[in-house]
Amino acid sequence: MNELLICKDLTKNYSYVRALNQVNLCLEKGKIIGLLGPNGSGKTTLIKTIAGLLKADFGEVLIDGEKVGEKTKAFVSYLPERNYLDDTMKVYETLDLFNDFYIDFDRNTAEKMLENLDIDINRKFKNLSKGMKEKVQLVLVMSRKARLYLLDEPIGGVDPATRDYILNTIVSNYAPDSTVIISTHLIADVEKVLDEFIFIKNGEIVMQSSVDNLREEKGMSVDEYFREVFKC
């Protein structure tokens, strides 16, 4: 069994808007997958449903054979598109917190990464700059040896140099049999690290393919193809 994530007929409505419409997905272990789509296409809704923050109206999600719950949360590492840490905490206290709750968290790795980034762990989280806060959260999330990483817009708010750092961090930290889902609309930046990509539009999966296949069949990069598919 090589599937890590299975979504069956996943449907989610927000009052009158259908955010996810019968999404069927099957993702394998050991891949870096781009979840790509324009704003409001359902990327965040899909990720939050897999993380367990939203309940689907219909359908189900299985991660390594388990329904979303306490068990899956122990091996899913989720990075939201916002600051989710108590900002009165000091950075080392957030490390303590991750260390206490996640058995797959590697504190040494996290401390080394923060040191490389020149982030003083004795500083309060709220006194860090926006970019630094994002880096701290990314370090926490990527220092877990998780089976599935859900990264929602990990490079949205930072400069290009930091983007490269973040992508390198992701590529060099995930274990060979874990899967990483990166949601973003900055396709050109992430393209080089992706094995597969998923196009999502109006809550529906438009396409799921490997990056190599796309290059062979269409002779296009993901970025070029995205512009063609989602042309306004």
């Binding site: 993380a51 939203l54 309940k55 949360k73 916002r82 989710y84 108590d86 996640y102």
Partner: protein, 285 residues
Amino acid sequence: MLGKLIKYDFKALKKTLLPVCLGAVALAVFTTIVMKLFFVFNDYNDNLPIMANTVFESILTLLLVFGFLALVASAFIAWFLLLQRYYKNCFKDEGYLTFTLPVKTGNILLGKLISAGIWALITGVFAIISIIVFLIFGTSQSFINMDIIRGFSEAWNLFWNIPDFTTLDYILIPTILILTVLCSIAQNILLFYLAITLGNQIAKRHKILASVGMYFAVNTVSSILVSTAMTVFTFLGFPILESLDNQPMRIIYIYFLIAILISASLSVVYFFVNKAILKKRLNLE
């Protein structure tokens, strides 16, 4: 995992509540000092011009009123902070972490109840200390008000020498008091928690306002249920109460035990309804 949840909630509450507790004691000391000034001033006011007299008296009165109001306000602030932690940690951005921790939903709620309960008790102890400080030091011209201390010790002696009281009574009374306090703290916290959860579930906007509305709604439904239950109890239990006519303490015990039972049952209902909503219908936006 429950222990760790309690640890982090307790620490987070400490950051906001400890200053409030210390502030309450500082306010008690402040009002005590103002009272002392009043007494000193009263000794000398015959020698002062009328203008100065009025000004001094007004300032001292204002300070005193401020001190008392601030003391009362600190109790409300403490409750607000207890509830704010729940709201922020579950339904704002921090909820994204809280609900992706590999823990049972019931434990999240239980951890928050226990840590908030402990802090409600700590706040209560600080409130009592503040009142005692004021009563002993702030109510007489001399440094310590001996009348108050004598009053306390007399009441204490009276309590331990009530005729017809057995050892059992002296064990039952504190036990019942402690249980009543614990149950009412739990019931109140869980009622507020449930109201906040419901408010966040039903409203798209104005979630805090919706939570306030839900508080009154849940409270009203609970009161109706409780008064119905009490009527039934009274009818069914009337023969028992009549047979205890010459044992008033028994009747008081029965009354308190029923109150504790009702409070505990409501707490359990609030807890499990809240847990079910958080587990089955959580939708963080």
